[in-house]
Symmetry: C2
Subunit: 357 residues, 2 copies
């Protein structure tokens, strides 16, 4: 067993923290970062917190050429009483290892990784913004660092954690967005890497996103790669539809990311006795429900926006206007409850909160 | 128009060149590299040759998280008379731009890029190994360097070229290999990134490759992602089957990489009046031909191995032994002719060779 004590080197040059109104997503980073190395035969070793600094790699490093990399995304929140906390972070660590498995990256001890995150967040405690809806975004990621141009798993890696104070995703609270159903490009297919949180999935999504942005849509809704018939995800969120009183979300099928917010939404709906189903759902079915006046709400669910209501869905030249472009009552209740639990204004009946000392 | 004069900074510390017998693939790099920067609004600028050195990037650089990157692979050869030369390099530059288009990376001037490669190869002329079958592998690649965690195309990039002296792919000349047909994992699907030379395609292939390597197979043969029925590629090469006198290769369909060697093989077969077809071909068809004794040869075609004969194909528990595990006459003729043109022992009837001064 390699010594897992985290060596801490403090910066001598602290940065100025951004003012709350200027907070964006993922542009500003805190004073320190976490790094741990992996070498085949030795395992993960040398966990350390160091001043935020550039990564220096050989130009032949595998990550630059073959994209062998995984990442996670979660947030630290601060309550009115000044308590720092994470939301279900163990789910992110479990998913990180599932992604590692798919991408041939060595398993990471989930407790070691989570403790590293907590220690880093604790050190950067003053970087967690306090204005409503703001938080400290946490980005753990692993890169393949071996200098080798053969197509093979790397023999060396780095696990890094960086932190970014972020603003509210929607400055005026949640607001329904316009989404375009994508019927040319494909995000993922069964047997591919869709359920892993890995770079290539995001790289492949850029083109479709760029094309719909030009037409005024916030995100694309991805259909399955086989028949382009069944709904998968929206942008980088999971998606839910409320049809005739029942909330439906695509079942996990190997090409859909297993979102932590997705899981939390399902748990809350069950808790509230609102019918919820995980199953295959086609765009035809959504359209038919819409035609009959039964499509009551639609929303995306993910760490960044928490709940993102969909006000308009564009599909095959048709514009589906959902709930008069107003946030639906279930969407609103989910958003309020989830953010309430995260910021400590609501009870935490499921033990989802992990305090940071 | 930005000044495209290449600024050259020579190393003060030249490395020792590896001996011919110890040459591997992609492990040793030359003394210098090429770099050029891109900034939105300014375009590609500051082309320079510098001592081979690490790349230093912010840990939030997009390439580490979302894999927005493309690459190419080609080789420099030296003739008996000491002439350095490239093989159809303009095809690689064209494909680099097609990959850029798919990955939302800005277009690169193909002449500027090719001239940079030629200037770098010329400077590193003494690094081109001279033993039979050896060459200098050229790896141009573009990485997204903006420090931003939003999922969007980067506003800054670097184009780099590194060089690696490589040994003969097969030390004893060409030798038939064992290939396993992959029916669980998928490399690419229509609407995805299969025809782009981008990191994610290679990352997603690692798992399947790892599993078949453990069973003694050199590579996997990829089937289409929709029906897992039609043949796409083998490992990171294109694939050809000679059936009853006709050579068949999968038609380009949006998920197959358009190989330079693939194109050269087709041109040579046409030139020789050997029937060749680019069309859909299923594993069922290959198996039926095998059963009838009509599957005469099979081979992969790519820059690294040139021609790689397939001696055994494993599919659904069946072992198809092809041509008694001996290299077929068409495979051999293609290999001899292509390498002959590359090394200058054969005529170059198509003008494929580009000399490096």
């Amino acid at each position: 067993m390699v010594d897992q004590t985290v060596n801490v080197t403090l910066t001598e040059d602290t940065k100025q923290k951004p003012v709350a109104e200027q907070l964006e997503f993922g542009r500003v980073f805190t004073d320190h970062m976490f790094i741990m190395d992996y070498i085949e035969g030795k395992g993960w070793h040398n966990p350390r917190i160091v001043p935020y600094q550039p990564v220096t790699l050989d130009p032949a490093a595998i990550v630059f050429h073959y994209g062998q990399t995984v990442f996670e995304g979660l947030k630290a929140y601060v309550t009115k009483d000044g308590e720092a906390r994470l939301f279900r972070p163990e789910k992110n660590m479990q998913r990180l290892n599932r992604s590692n498995e798919r991408m041939c990256i060595p398993h990471l001890d989930e407790d070691v990784a989570l403790n590293a995150i907590k220690q880093l967040v604790s050190l950067e405690r003053d970087w967690i913004p306090t204005a409503p809806g703001t938080s400290l975004y946490i980005r753990p990621f692993i890169i393949s660092t071996e200098s080798y141009l053969g197509v093979a798993p790397s023999k060396t890696y780095q696990f890094l954690v960086i932190l970014s104070p972020v603003g509210a995703y929607y400055k005026e609270g949640i607001n329904p967005v316009k989404i375009a159903v994508e019927d040319e490009f494909v995000r993922a297919v069964k047997g591919g890497t869709g359920e892993a949180k890995t770079a290539g999935n995001y790289a492949s999504s850029l083109k479709a996103q760029e094309l719909v942005s030009d037409k005024g849509y916030a995100q694309v809704l991805w259909l399955d790669g086989l028949e382009k018939k069944y709904i998968e995800e929206v942008g980088s969120m999971n998606v839910f539809f409320k049809i005739n009183g029942e909330v439906v979300t695509p079942a996990l099928n190997g090409s859909i990311l297993e979102g932590v917010t997705r899981n939390s939404v399902i748990r809350l709906l069950n808790h509230w006795d609102i019918p919820v189903a995980e199953r295959k759902i086609s765009m035809e079915e959504v359209y038919e429900a819409y035609e009959k006046g039964l499509l009551e709400e639609a929303f995306g669910a993910g760490t960044a926006a928490v709940i993102s209501p969909i006000g308009e869905l564009s599909w095959k030249g048709e514009q589906l206007i959902i709930n008069d472009r107003v946030t639906g009552s279930v969407s609103k209740r989910l958003y309020d409850t989830l953010t309430g639990i995260q910021y400590g204004t609501e009870e935490d009946p499921f033990g989802w909160i992990e305090k940071v000392k």
